[in-house]
Symmetry: C2
Subunit: 490 residues, 2 copies
Amino acid sequence: MNVWDSPSDWIRFWIFEYNASLPFNLLTNQTLHSIAINKPRAIDGLGKNKKSRLDGSTFGCLVFREKRVTNMIGRKYASLFCQQWPFFLFFTVIFFTVFVLYGILTIPTTTMAPHKLCMIPGPIEFHEDVLAAMGTPATSHVDPNFIPVFGESIEMVRKVVLSEKAQPFIVSGSGTLGWDMMVNLIEAGDEVLVINTGYFGDHFAECLEVYGAKITHLRAPVGGRPSADEIKQAVAGKKYKMVTVTHVDTSTGVLSDIKSVAEIVKANSPETLVVVDGVCSVGSEEIRFDEWNLDVVITGSQKGLGVPPGLSIVIASPHAIETFKSRKTPVPSYYSNWNKWIPIMQAYESRKPAYFATPAVQLIYALHSSLKRITSQPMEATFAKHQQVASNFRKTVQDLGFKLLAHTEEGAANGMTAIWLPEGITIPQVVPSLATKGVQIAGGLHKDCAPKYIRIGHMGISVMEDERGHIQKVIDSFKQTFTELGYLKA
Amino acid sequence: MNVWDSPSDWIRFWIFEYNASLPFNLLTNQTLHSIAINKPRAIDGLGKNKKSRLDGSTFGCLVFREKRVTNMIGRKYASLFCQQWPFFLFFTVIFFTVFVLYGILTIPTTTMAPHKLCMIPGPIEFHEDVLAAMGTPATSHVDPNFIPVFGESIEMVRKVVLSEKAQPFIVSGSGTLGWDMMVNLIEAGDEVLVINTGYFGDHFAECLEVYGAKITHLRAPVGGRPSADEIKQAVAGKKYKMVTVTHVDTSTGVLSDIKSVAEIVKANSPETLVVVDGVCSVGSEEIRFDEWNLDVVITGSQKGLGVPPGLSIVIASPHAIETFKSRKTPVPSYYSNWNKWIPIMQAYESRKPAYFATPAVQLIYALHSSLKRITSQPMEATFAKHQQVASNFRKTVQDLGFKLLAHTEEGAANGMTAIWLPEGITIPQVVPSLATKGVQIAGGLHKDCAPKYIRIGHMGISVMEDERGHIQKVIDSFKQTFTELGYLKA
């Protein structure tokens, strides 16, 4: 079939203006064919319309037809397009421009660079908005825009631990600085019971000893936690100034039952301070500060709170503040001294500036962004989601034949999991292999068995936002690595 | 003149395909005119070429001419454009697309949001690259990518103070934490001379007293600094454990001559530690750590180093480290204890990970970015530029009739200036007025006269990168404010 018999096929128009130098009627079919064969696409036929001398110059339409197989609807639109294509092109450019400009104006100021998923038990993955807040341009720490950001952050910290009346401290420093702040509550010779479930119990105790505390450790084997009876026995008949408990020991992934600890301790001696190391639990584990009668919760920004490291966050009960105020000796620290920090926190919370040390403005903007997201739904939803994801994760890993450090399901953390490596497989075989698959996990940390296990974090947006697929990526890479190592079958 | 007589004027072609429903030769001039008047632009004339029956359908070119006044060159290109405009449009779209994609791919991940210029004496304005580094996605503190970033930052800190052998500490915390770290050098009862030029001398002394230091203040009137003779007299015949000097007291803008202080102190007693509070001087004032025989320089990230607040940076001489190691009593601090931090700094500098507290990964990426820029040229260039800009700034302000707190030119800081307000003008009249003009400056801070003066910072990129026009903007807004207040003539 000759295309000229198929009038609705697509048509290409080429329009030339000839200024009489090559009179249009001298364009032979041969010339037209020689133009046509220089085009990249086959031309089935071509024609020219008669020259049209409208004025001093000569115009003409050269009509090239291309053979196309189109259905009837296609033909209709092809025909429309053929008539109107400059308009289509024009509007395409306009729409494209608007689309691109809209895109540019609405992308977060920080788009997240490609990187390994950070699935260690902190620092965790950060939301794009949090990273954008990190890039807040220079802002004075007493700027009217910053003051409410700091003030609201203090209020939201309280909400995260379900407290109405605790005093939060948000201070430049790492989570470790939170331990140091216990210098405000300890006086030389004070007796402290440390409920010790790993590395962080040991080091918290070491910190308290620097400030004169006399430490009694209540230890459990690796992966276990002291039972309620053991705790009852430990506190019975003795009035400790303070009992500390690591809510989740990041070295073992063991979860302590802080509600029960507080109950037992307060039943024995209501004045004893219950201090929770919540560095690896605030934002991922259930904490009911007021209801459970806790006195201090210590945390850092980089775990369940989903903010880059650099902020020490401590929450103190009215009882803790009273204990601090009624101490007999001066606080033997300058930077950690609550006498310096309480007026700052109170000032910002009442939307006034104050100065002791320049706050980490950008980190506080980031904290504000993350806390807004966390507190946008009831904390119960966050607790439940972490429990559900952690429970599934543990089941998946155990179904593959792995054993966990945590001895029991209820004694296993919901924000991280520590997993024994199978006999004969070492950390340098596993961690770098997952890294090449785009997933960063951590090796062991407990001094007795560090080379024998790995630790995987599951907190924050990686847990709360399924659509990111972080947990699945961890599981897939984990399976792949152990398949490559011959431990799992392909 | 009828456009049809002007053949090279721009021409618009409208091309229609008629499927015989409206035979082309039935298109009257009237119909064409009625099409023309529905177009937004005036059509001077129009014509049609004769119908051309190439196949079953009817084609035609309707040629509309628009009147344009074009010069000859314009006509030539107009004519070319007229012939080839679909190609021009096509390539325009291609170029536009490439341009936009290139733009998207090369914009810094953080573009700086519009904000008031932060011209207080710290935090200062941050470079776009530094803010982008703040948005670094989640990265483990032991990630192979992060370790050299931390290691190089430690090395570059040394370069900024022109030292070969000092031990830098980069720790999560505010500049104030640097004072706290002097707990490593002070033992109860140690005698310390504080060369005091303002608020920060008072508070540094307060910090040292917490750790048992016995303080002797050598004060100067507001805006002055103790003379060399006064310092000689103060140290004569007394062996201080430590002499502290605030290099630039941010409360007064007074610059101390730390070279001369160190000379005098070491001549009297080489063992005495010379400790420089360089929070408001490192990166903006000349410091020759080794050559001037300094023992400690304390700073924060948010001033001359051009990084958001949140890092405490301390640089200690081998003599300071020896003094620390030979102390008789244990360091009475946990978080500030150099026994904890020295192994961390040494590990990262030798490109190995280590753990005491989670470092502020993103802030250290930002520090690395800023230090790269600062150390990309000799420090002498940075010192000279700050001196030149500060000197010009002081002259401009003084020429306008203002008086500075600093009594002398050589005793005035190069990174900030404190300016007395004219009689009857108050801070609430001045600072908010400059803020509405997009410039944030600070009020006074010295307890004796805080309401009577203002402070303006000139450090970092605002000084080093003229093309940003920051200093000029400050001067313009400053003049405008005082003109509005009636102090300056319009």
